[in-house]
């Protein structure tokens, strides 16, 4: 009875007033205008520019770019810059996202297991997350420093003096790994925090019942904890995928894309083409391919997550 009455009032409050549409429209207007002008229009514009011969000198002399028959794309594929960058980007994303899941989950499970000082640990473990990206790059460059770095010393110590020239960022085959470690350092805390929140959704009585039934911890984790955390894992991992796909300052500061292009991801390649080589059209071609890949990846990810839901 009370419920229907309140529904009636709600109806009159929201539908009767003619001003609702206007009021709501005015309220959302600033956000929509700003997003359209500074995000949507630039994105469309950059896709258009990717088909043009457009350089920084066009901006200075205020001349429009010229259609150049997909030359930006053809060149990028011919000199294998783009394929290299795509492979590098995917390796980086895969490495960071998978390890982030593993470390984040381990830490969350441990912090959730009623150990002493869990609250305190939860709050201090968040610190790397608030360290600005460029500063985390500097911190890890100092750790990895090839002459006086701590890592060089630790590696020397653990290998009994066999490896004395450990310089992870200077070697093309390990540089990406070095950046990945720095990325993990900054990102694991937030993932852990989200997973901890997700663990609150797992009903205790289910776990107790499972324990009584004799299911071990590993079994409980896979058949009870994981399914209950699905939505949180889903959100945390899509965030991680998107953020690492976009990662720029960390790589740019630590290696600048080198050595020997070993860490040139799509973000680095597009920035370098557009703002270092001043070939804006070519940079736009890289970001266009990149956006398409991102759509594909998110689509596949959604599909995979959707399918496991059916099981």
């Amino acid at each position: 009875m009370g419920n229907t009455a309140s529904r009636k009032i709600r109806k009159s409050y929201f539908k009767r007033s003619t001003g609702d549409r206007l009021f709501s429209g005015i309220l959302v207007l600033p956000a929509v205008v700003i997003t359209v002008i500074f995000i949507i229009v630039p994105i469309i514009d950059s896709v258009i520019k990717s088909f043009l011969d457009f350089r920084v000198k066009n901006i200075i002399s205020n001349q429009p770019g010229k259609w150049n028959n997909f030359e930006n794309y053809i060149k990028l594929f011919q000199n294998e810059k783009l394929t290299g960058a795509i492979i590098t980007t995917f390796s980086f994303v895969l490495f960071v996202v998978i390890l982030q899941f593993v470390f984040g989950m381990l830490l969350a499970l441990i912090l959730n297991s009623k150990i002493k000082g869990a609250r305190f640990l939860r709050s201090i473990m968040m610190t790397p997350w608030v360290v600005p990206t460029i500063i985390s790059a500097l911190i890890w460059m100092w750790m990895f420093q090839p002459q006086y770095g701590l890592m060089k010393y630790i590696v020397q110590l653990f290998t009994g003096g066999a490896v004395t020239d450990f310089a992870i960022l200077n070697n093309p085959s390990t540089a990406l790994l070095g950046i990945g470690i720095a990325a993990l350092w900054k990102q694991v805390p937030l993932t852990t925090l989200l997973f901890l929140a997700g663990l609150q959704n797992v009903p205790d009585d289910m776990l107790e019942a499972a324990t009584i039934d004799g299911a071990n911890k590993v079994r409980q984790f896979f058949s009870i904890v994981l399914p209950y955390m699905k939505s949180v894992i889903n959100v945390a991992m899509s965030m991680a995928i998107i953020n690492n796909f976009k990662q720029f300052p960390l790589i740019w500061t630590m290696t600048g894309g080198g050595p020997d292009n070993a860490t040139t991801t799509l973000a680095i390649l597009s920035y370098r083409e557009a703002f270092v080589s001043n070939n804006i059209g070519s940079g736009a071609a890289v970001t266009t391919v990149w956006m398409l890949l991102m759509v594909v990846v998110v689509f596949i990810y959604k599909k995979l997550m959707g399918e496991t839901e059916v099981d």
């Binding site: 549409r21 709501s24 229009v41 520019k49 968040m126 608030v130 500097l138 350092w185 694991v188 937030l190």
Partner: protein, 278 residues
């Protein structure tokens, strides 16, 4: 019994390793900032400064104080962006949560998609666009670009906070004759204070961290913000002054750590709400 012992050994061993990975680098930077350049370049390194000194801090405050211009600019930019983001996010969050119109789903779709686009792609065109409207190389230009960058996530976050406020309170105020704006300002907004704090902190933290926007839209050294300023001035091609860099790292991080520890309750609540519901 034995299995239990092994279990907790594994548990505490893993915990220690992960925490060491997360926290030791911070300790390392802190102690390096208190070492003299001589000691910082010692190999093998010292784990506790032998002769702690403030020399690199004094150096930063006296000789290398261009840093503080970047620092100040970063405060101005992040402050404005945080303020504007919060105001805009409150308006649109309220509208999106309270009024159901056809355009709502379109707006949400635009906001969601905006988060995915690479920043470089936007910068390529903004560099040109900002030049046309005379906003390149100005702080308002940078602030607007960053505001746009912050809005998608914060609007959705605010929407989810408004959704958790019961409509009945507003209905009562409406019947009492309060206007729509009065309801929004006096009645609903105070109820979503935790969400507001989360939005302020989130946008402040994220803009403090910005590199790409400032790198492309600002060319004048006196307008540069922290990340770009530090990268261009202190990271020379060959020789890095590591004591100075470690000191910069500490000073550049302190405001964020203070903010986080004072407001961590709101921050965590907001982020979790945004991630779990959004």
């Amino acid at each position: 019994m034995k299995k239990n012992f092994l279990g907790s050994l594994l548990k505490y061993g893993t915990l220690t390793l992960i925490l060491l990975f997360l926290l030791f680098p911070l300790y390392w930077v802190t102690i390096t900032s208190f070492k003299s350049n001589m000691e910082a370049y010692k190999f093998p390194p010292t784990f506790i400064p032998e002769a702690p000194t403030l020399s690199s801090y004094i150096n930063l405050f006296t000789k290398n104080n261009a840093f503080f211009v970047y620092y100040k600019n970063n405060f101005i930019v992040s402050g404005f962006v945080a303020f504007l983001t919060t105001v805009v996010a409150i308006f649109s969050g309220y509208a999106l949560s309270r009024f159901r119109f056809k355009w709502n789903s379109w707006i949400l779709a635009i906001l969601l998609a905006s988060q995915m686009f690479p920043v470089v792609s936007r910068m390529i065109s903004l560099y040109d666009l900002m030049g046309d409207i005379g906003l390149i190389n100005t702080m308002p230009g940078l602030i607007l670009a960053l505001l746009a960058d912050m809005l998608p996530f914060t609007v959705m976050l605010m929407t989810s906070f408004f959704q958790s406020v019961p409509v009945a309170i507003e209905e009562a105020a409406y019947i009492d004759g309060a206007s729509r704006l009065q309801i929004l300002y006096r009645i609903v907004t105070p109820l979503v204070k935790p969400g507001m704090v989360a939005v302020v902190l989130y946008s402040f933290l994220m803009t403090w961290d910005d590199y790409l926007h400032a790198a492309t839209l600002i060319q004048n050294d006196s307008l540069r913000t922290l990340s770009v300023g530090v990268a261009l001035r202190y990271l020379g091609e060959l020789s890095y002054d590591w004591s100075l860099i470690n000191t910069i790292s500490i000073i550049g991080t302190i405001p964020m750590i203070l903010l986080f520890f004072f407001f961590q309750k709101y921050m965590i609540k907001g982020l979790v709400a945004g991630a779990v519901k959004g």
